[in-house]
């Protein structure tokens, strides 16, 4: 029973190992990866379902040692929800990679690395231990770096370097946070830490640890001012990868902030939350305005992620049950929307004469790509939060929680920020589908990437816009669960 929580991590891990043996048959490797991720999604769904039914997290203790001595893997509602979200998007990422014309998806290491990325991300969401968080994050970083370095884009290697170095910095912060917390409290188990921090909030290094963890997660979610590597990285990565990076991988920091404010540092949360609101608003404006000024669809979407993460941070920062639920809905919906949009940008680049999503190249191409146009427009509406898409539900819930928390000024700023989203998405849409081609003699390539994956994602976006109830219920339950850190601690440490 308790081994159930291992499956979401072990399935992609073993899948990656086996995929290595299929190196000579990249096609089969891809199909295998699809099967592995499909199985992983099923397992994670079952895990989440079990957790929701029993109301108890599923905890696995490594080596049979009880926490805090053994390494704990904890499948609670938050971890399970984010893991499922990530794996669904990663599954569709594989679908996209299978239909992609890129050279890099034929690279023998592509699919094993993709599965390692899945392992790292899932593990980071499900681990109950700060050191393991470090390990899984490193796994994620290494896979992400290589996946970007092999990009067809000539800036791939440069972007990969940037990402790797900034991630080293994040790793250093995280390791130092591990160290300072261990010195102060003698444990790295999250539940145990939470309990001990609550009992002894005056440890001299506590503030340092909080600052270090903040910095780590800010880098992970590319929060201003640690964002500078992100647009390069998300633009240069292969489409199938950048669609993952800018949607689910950036949510690692969001997850971290949620754990910090609702579990580890409940007493100290007020300051963190204020900071998150400020950073969020800066992100909304900085990201939104930068996105308006970009010359490349992918880059625009990367900056848009900055802004959208800003919305989520503000939700976490308000810290009310409504706002946290809204932030979670926003997190899930943004992952689906952004993945779809990046895939569409990649699709256009794959059909363009020069493989690029720069406006100079893709302007006017839309006339010949009507299906992509419909998908892109719905995605644009969703990003800007216009009904009947899931993006509207996110925006509505977030504004609602802000009004409830009487944060009218911030809500007003967010409303202005959401107009910026509308401006850049519509401008991109108009350029690609309405404006004439820059050079009409240039012909489209007859075939490019397949549209199945973004079409499925946009379908989900519409479905979650009209039938929002299940996701809202799930995030409500998650929020109630996050409001009871004592239950998390008891569940992991057993009796207390």
């Amino acid at each position: 029973m308790n081994h159930l929580v291992l499956l979401p991590i072990l399935i992609p891990f073993l899948g990656a190992v086996i995929a290595l043996f299929l190196m000579r048959a990249p096609r089969w490797q891809g199909v295998w990866t699809l099967g592995v991720l499909g199985t992983a999604v099923t397992a994670t769904s079952y895990l989440l379902w079990t957790v929701q039914q029993t109301g108890e997290p599923v905890v696995y203790y490594g080596g049979g040692w009880m926490a805090p001595f053994g390494i704990a893997i904890v499948g609670d509602l938050l971890g399970g929800l984010l893991a499922l979200m990530s794996q669904v998007v990663l599954l569709l990422g594989t679908v996209y990679a299978l239909g992609a014309k890129d050279k890099n998806v034929r690279y023998p290491g592509f699919y094993p690395l993709f599965l390692m990325l899945t392992t790292g991300l899932t593990g980071a969401f499900l681990t109950g231990d700060l050191f393991n968080l470090f390990v899984f994050t490193e796994l994620l970083v290494i896979s992400g770096t290589v996946l970007t370095a092999i990009s067809d884009d000539k800036y791939g290697a440069e972007a990969a370097y940037k990402y790797f170095y900034i991630s080293l910095l994040a790793a250093a912060f995280l390791l130092l946070a591990n160290g300072t917390l261990y010195v102060s409290y003698g444990t790295l188990n999250l539940a145990d830490l939470a309990e001990r921090i609550a009992q002894n909030p005056d440890a001299p290094l506590l503030t340092t640890s909080i600052a270090l963890l903040m910095a780590t997660f800010m880098i992970k979610s590319a929060v201003f001012p640690f964002h500078f590597w992100q647009p390069d990285f998300h633009t240069a990565a292969p489409t199938a990868v950048s669609a993952m990076l800018s949607s689910v991988v950036v949510k690692l920091g969001v997850y971290g902030f949620l754990r910090m404010t609702t579990l580890l540092f409940v007493e100290q949360a007020a300051l963190i939350q204020t900071l998150l609101i400020v950073l969020g608003v800066i992100g909304i404006f900085f990201g939104g305005l930068s996105a308006i000024g970009t010359h490349n669809v992918k880059r625009m979407l990367a900056y848009s992620t900055l802004a959208q993460i800003g919305f989520i941070l503000v939700g976490i920062g308000w810290g009310t049950p409504l706002s946290i639920a809204a932030a979670l809905v926003f997190t899930v919906n943004h992952s689906l929307i952004k993945a779809a949009m990046l895939m569409l940008a990649g699709f256009m680049a794959s059909r363009a004469s020069v493989k690029s999503a720069a406006f100079a190249v893709v302007t006017g191409l839309g006339k010949q790509l009507p299906v992509a146009g419909v998908l892109f427009f719905v995605g644009a509406l969703a990003l800007a939060g216009i009904p009947p898409t899931s993006g509207f539900i996110s925006k509505m819930l977030l504004f609602n929680s802000g009004v409830e928390a009487t944060q009218i000024v911030v809500v007003g700023l967010m409303a202005v920020g959401s107009l910026a989203t509308l401006i850049y998405t519509m401008r991109a849409f108009q350029r690609i589908w309405w404006e004439p081609q820059v050079d009409a003699t240039i012909k489209l390539k007859p075939a490019g990437d397949k549209l199945i994956a973004p079409a499925l994602l946009i379908g989900l976006v519409l479905l979650l816009g009209i039938w929002a109830e299940p996701l809202i219920q799930l995030t409500d339950a998650t929020t109630v669960w996050l409001g009871r850190p004592d239950l998390y601690i008891t569940a992991v440490l057993g009796g207390g």
Binding site: F392, F399, V403
Partner: protein, 498 residues
């Protein structure tokens, strides 16, 4: 599923048919769209048949839980305020769709899909009784209109499309915040429940009023929120302008009557003089700017600002004549300026210019067309015996006796009346320059008169121009019950304030 939901989503059948008919000819697609629009109009007549006049509250209600966790309902209903708007929507749509027969030659399928989607959105706006549902329909109307302007519009279409989209979005965000606030204080988004529980947000009702008012003011548009309108109207294809002027602008005035007045009565009373002043400015400003236009379509567009000033003045007279006049004038403006945009379209299709100086003496080439245009022009300037007169007269009467407009409301009436005179000036002058005089531009000699389709559309407009002008009582009796109750409700507030 009740009749109202059926009516609202009925055009979707046409949309599906258009999507399925992959290999059909353009003409077949046009017929599908036209028959859908006619059938939808027929259904709205069925609704009219089932509608009980004199009842104040909502009728034919369709209501169930939608997102239970957030108290959001699917709630449709109709009353005296919406019935005329619904009929106007289906009527104008039924005329606008065939009017594009020749004008739209590219991407025909998409064009009619967007037209029918727009109809769904507009009907939903007028029938939704849950604020969340209303907001969704409200936003949804933007999308098809954005495409209608952006793809099939004139030279500057892309600019006009995004301007239209952004302006309306900016306004509706404020409304969204207002809706959310009331949802939190009252745990419901249902309009009737919010009205009965309005005490819960009475303390901030001035702010909420402003949030809603700005959203609606942009839509109407009230001076100084009007600057998107000339662009959108001029760049939109003919049918788009017809719908924009005919129905979409009425969503704004409807919003004031449906939401602002009953939800925030004290604030309505408080802001009434200010809005009436803006309405007067709009009336005179719109008229003067119309006077200066060299482009017929722009002239008609600016005249909308002036005419909708009357509607706003009527609404914020906050009495029975004022509001009933405003609703009827909304319908009248829909018919008259819808017809005027159609007329401009007929000329533009043949001459591909809208410059007034390019025309002159058109009567000689197109006598039937010109005669009918004269009637429409006279209706637009409010000649007795035609529909415009009834609406404007009732509004002026209402404003004259408006307690909400301070001690001497007649000043407002006096200023508004100048608008009637100005309308006569700019409309007749336009008519004179385009239709009268010698036929001295050789390009105009080849103009052909109306074909049977165009004639049918013009005669349909004509029917209501004269019907409302001669026998308006049937139209007033449709709204009387609801408006009287609304006015009584506000009246008690006015009394309490004194």
């Amino acid at each position: 599923m009740g009749i109202l939901s059926l009516l609202t989503f009925f055009p979707l059948i046409g949309v599906v048919a258009l999507l399925i008919m992959r290999k059909a000819s353009d003409n077949a697609l046009k017929w599908v769209a036209i028959s859908t629009a006619i059938a939808t109009f027929g259904m709205s007549l069925v609704v009219l048949g089932q509608f009980e006049t004199g009842v104040a509250g909502l009728q034919l209600i369709d209501r169930f839980e939608w997102i239970e966790a957030w108290g959001i309902e699917y709630h449709m209903g109709i009353d005296g305020i919406s019935i005329l708007m619904v009929l106007l929507t289906t009527f104008i749509m039924m005329l606008a769709i065939p009017s594009s027969w020749n004008a739209i030659s590219s991407q025909v399928r998409q064009y009619y899909i967007f037209m029918l989607l727009l109809e769904v959105g507009m009907l939903g706006v007028f029938l939704a009784q849950d604020l969340f549902l209303f907001y969704i329909f409200w936003e949804f109307t933007l999308v098809p209109m954005y495409f209608l302007i952006g793809i099939w519009g004139g030279k500057n279409r892309v600019y006009a499309a995004i301007k239209f989209f952004l302006y309306t979005m900016a306004g509706s965000l404020l409304m969204l915040l207002g809706i959310l606030y009331m949802g939190i204080t009252n745990d419901t988004f249902s309009l009737p429940d919010l009205i009965s529980g309005r005490a819960a947000f009475a303390d901030v009702q001035n702010w909420l009023f402003l949030g809603f008012a700005i959203a609606f003011a942009i839509k109407v548009p009230i001076f100084p929120f009007h600057s998107w309108l000339p662009d959108a109207h001029t760049e939109a294809p003919t049918a788009g302008s017809v719908i924009l002027a005919g129905v979409l602008l009425k969503m704004g005035t409807y919003g004031f009557i449906r939401f602002n007045l009953p939800l925030f009565p004290e604030a309505s009373v408080e802001f009434a003089p200010a809005i009436a002043v803006l309405a007067i400015i709009g009336i005179i400003y719109g008229a003067i700017v119309s006077f200066a236009q060299k482009d017929v379509k722009k002239l008609v567009a600016y005249s909308s600002i002036s005419h909708l000033g009357f509607v706003m003045l009527g609404i914020f007279s906050l009495n029975n004549q004022g509001i009933q006049g405003a609703i009827l004038q909304g319908v009248n403006h829909g018919i008259s300026s819808g017809a005027l945009f159609f007329i401009v379209g007929v000329l533009y299709e043949q001459r591909h210019t809208r410059e007034i100086k390019e025309y002159g003496g058109v009567w000689k080439a197109m006598p039937v067309f010109s005669a009918l245009t004269l009637i429409v022009t006279l209706s637009s300037m409010g000649l007795p015996g035609l529909n415009g007169f009834v609406g404007e007269f009732t509004i002026l009467l209402g404003s004259m006796g408006a307690e909400s407009l301070g001690a001497s409301p007649w000043i407002f009436t006096a200023f508004a009346t100048t608008g009637v005179i100005l309308a006569a000036v700019y409309l007749l002058w336009m008519f004179q320059r385009v239709f009268m005089g010698p036929l001295d531009n050789p390009a105009n000699e080849k103009l052909r008169d109306l074909n049977s389709g165009e004639l049918a559309i013009m005669l349909s407009f004509m029917l209501f121009i004269i019907w409302i002008g001669v026998a308006p009582s049937g139209f007033f009796s449709l709204m009387d019950g609801t408006v009287s109750k609304l006015v009584a409700d506000i009246g008690s507030v006015l009394l309490a304030g004194q």
